[in-house]
Symmetry: C2
Subunit: 498 residues, 2 copies
């Protein structure tokens, strides 16, 4: 053993509580300083591909390094390569609205580091998840049908993609069990429906569970219908498939699409799904968060007719990545298709059938104690705080939209539903050419992002290039939105003067 010189007695236990205390305090201060300085960094990282692989050594260190020098390296090498999702001037994609409470919850859940695959492996993890999911059910005014007190129930997944995969598998197994045909043959005939605005993860989830891309119908939407899925178009697509001998399986509706936050009308579309015995999932990844406000709850009207519903607390409910909350109306749909029962996990609690074993509600066996962070968030901010948080962003978005509406150079391309504003530069009157508007709008976005002072992303709908302003950062205040507006005007002035 001569080649490994560290003696057992010299190597400190890697979970020594005094060293833990000292080092973790250092990192708390490091992060508190980061938040107080976050506006000083370019919002979107300005590095070039290979910046870090060219800088760091290509082999791991032989000897242990002190935490102080590691933190210096984070500051010097890592932070320049970070796109600062927590910057108040980050308006890209969907928000990632961290909070102190969620951070503390992550500390606790990481600190306990339990592997809660079943009830026994850590009863508190399972029971707190049930409690939090029932709290959220009330907060969102979801029907009792989705509650553990009925045949339903809620579970925390990492992201929407995971919820898509699990509900697709549940729907698939249910459908296959109802059909007499040879299983492999029928599998090739199953069809998934969505709109052309549905998140790309549905395509991928379908592919993962064995449904051919040819059997995913992304039904076109139009600007004139605010990019909502049209019930008639859905019916026609399904009927055509049935005539062709295919088997309609799954419909995904979206409340708050990625590009423009369009909201599909749930009730009427669920009715179509019902007629054809199709599983209906409602994906409200972003906008579901807003539905904790009474004034937005109507977007979920009709949800009682869906089979499953999910939203991402990590998008806009002060919770860190990932925390997708999924409810199903019939929990046995999930457990019938996702259960495992190996000898080494058998135990009395499971045998008693008095407990939930969440491993049978998800893809993976091992699972983090996710409920801890959402529980911390709900306790720390209360229902009033959570509602106030969402409402602030909506108010800021309304303000930004109002500023755009009075400047004739800009067009708000779709009506604002939540806290995302989609706008563009109106094509110059002499050109009457959409391409002209697209070019100008794209140049405006690149010019603004190029400053490093703000960051937004884009969408393309009906061949119109739009800038998406997603207002939802925890640190974002009205002054940041005002600064953004000043910058938009200034850069548009320059651009349009050329």
């Amino acid at each position: 053993m001569g080649s490994f010189p560290i003696a057992t007695t010299e190597f400190l236990n890697p979970l020594d509580h005094e060293q833990f205390r000292k080092q973790a305090h250092l990192v708390v201060d490091f992060l508190a300083d980061y938040y107080s300085n976050v506006e000083k960094y370019p919002v979107c990282s300005q590095v070039k591909p290979g910046f870090l692989t060219e800088t760091l050594p290509d082999s791991p260190p032989t000897q242990p390094q002190p935490i102080e020098s590691i933190l210096q390296e984070v500051q010097k090498h890592i932070i320049p390569g970070i796109t600062h999702w927590q910057s108040p001037n980050f308006f890209g994609y969907f928000p990632s609205s961290l909070s102190t409470a969620s951070f503390l919850g992550e500390m606790l859940l990481t600190g306990f580091d339990i592997v809660g695959f079943n009830w026994l492996a850590s009863p508190a993890a399972t029971e707190l998840e049930i409690i939090v999911m029932e709290w959220l059910l009330k907060l969102l005014q979801l029907p009792k049908l989705f509650s553990f007190s009925s045949d339903g129930g809620g579970v925390m997944h990492s992201t929407t993609c995971e919820s898509f995969v699990c509900t697709l598998v549940a729907a698939r197994e249910k459908k296959l069990s109802q059909i007499e045909n040879e299983k492999g043959e029928t599998l090739g005939k199953l069809v998934v429906y969505c709109s052309d605005q549905t998140h790309c993860s549905l395509q991928k989830a379908s592919q993962i569970v064995g449904i051919s891309p040819n059997n995913v119908r992304a039904i076109p939407t139009t600007k004139s219908m605010n990019f909502q899925l049209c019930p008639d178009a859905l019916s026609r697509a399904i009927e055509a498939d049935v005539r062709a001998g295919l088997v309609p399986l799954y419909l995904c509706l979206t409340v708050g699409t990625t590009q423009t936050t369009a909201a599909d009308p749930i009730g009427i579309l669920c009715e179509v799904a019902k007629q054809f015995n199709i599983w209906c999932h409602v994906d409200a990844a972003y906008a579901g968060n807003a539905c904790i406000l009474p004034e937005f709850r109507h977007f979920l009207d009709g949800i009682e007719d869906a089979n499953s519903f999910s939203f991402n607390a990590h998008k806009w409910l002060l919770t860190s990545l990932g925390c997708c909350c999924l409810w199903v109306k019939d929990r046995t749909d999930l457990t019938k298709s996702l259960s495992t029962d190996p000898e080494y996990l058998k135990n009395k609690a499971t045998n008693s059938k008095q407990v939930v074993d969440y491993k049978d509600w998800q893809i993976t066996l091992s699972r983090r104690f996710l409920s801890m962070k959402l529980w911390m968030v709900m306790k720390s901010y209360g229902v009033l705080g959570l509602r106030e948080f969402i409402r602030r962003h909506v108010k800021m978005a309304k303000h930004f939209e109002a500023l755009l509406l009075i400047d004739k150079r800009f067009e708000v391309v779709v009506p604002r539903n939540f806290a995302i504003v989609c706008f563009r530069i109106v094509p110059l009157s002499e050109s009457r050419d959409e391409e002209n508007g697209n070019r100008l709008t794209k140049r405006l976005l690149e010019s603004l992002n190029g400053t490093g002072k703000v960051y937004m992303t884009h969408a393309v709908v009906e061949n119109i290039y739009v800038i998406r302003v997603a207002i939802g950062g925890t640190l974002t205040e009205e002054k940041h939105v005002d600064m953004l507006w000043d910058m938009v005007q200034e850069h548009a002035n320059t651009l349009l003067a050329c």
Copy 2:
């Protein structure tokens, strides 16, 4: 808005850096105290089903609660419901070996809370992952074929189940593209091979990707062959399927099975797979960690012939849940089957093809900055520290095994490969009945776990009930193993005296 009384000016920003600092310091101290007291709690939670749902309110709080009272609630209500995976007396399942460095890494990655689906969304997240995966590749002496410098590459998934799903989908799409038949029809003919000792997640992953449970061959193993998969038995199973018109797809080998840490011989089994053009995945979830030690590396001999390899750093490499490291020999196998390219994620870096977009290597779109924690671990402990850590546990396990071997009442049921010892009470000589040994061993386990002072789990192999002693807790020292041995003897004395 009268029903929501909190005024905008009164509600503190939920990421206020001074409040963050104050509250996070509190939680650091809470956790440091937890580690110093962890031995005082029953290792396995003693609560009854419903303990928490009956205690906590069934609606979320309306008003914000102070952090001090929340932490009191954690202490009073949550901790009694936790099974203490970080206790030095936890010997159940596989270890969950947290370290301070990993905890600090989780703090940083949660603190930045970036959503690194592609390179642009946070370049440092992608590049640090590439760096860490290449470091690990060297540490494990994996062939260059799995490196980014060749056609391969590594990615961090949450758990092995995710790696199973992704490699199964990659293998499936590759196979289907090679076959002219109708896709849906062929899908029903694909067959997955493993041993009866393979982790249950493979069955589930196969089900998820659309392979019928009837087409998963769990080939029986025997105690006489140390529960290794037999190449001849594998060949015979494949040949029978081919004769029946089925299509062999995927072989999963295990180095360090869940029940007894058996290790399949990779080289010779890969040869069989090659003959039939089968994708071969090597799952070394637990034992892969030990392969950073030169004296264990031989367990991976032949790995150059596999298509993919994964291990879980969260099991035994001082890293918190989840951190499954997966390498593939041909990265396009993954990206061809898991890529998405929606308009709203298009960007110049992706177009340049000079960057890795990890969203195309995994199930989900959004991904946490996982490399941060493993980088912190490797920096903080160095190669020497990591090796020393594993070696300590192996030494303790050898010690425990030696104690068992000199007490004739016990039998070490399978030879110890790593740091897990499987033993039982030998059936009483007058009975000559395996059932007698099983009954006694089960009663011994229940009696030991019932004290709350230690926790172990069980396995059943060839109808023999065994107690698994998994030595791998970060806080576990030789004195804890000695205490366990004292308890085993004491409880066996009582039991055998009856």
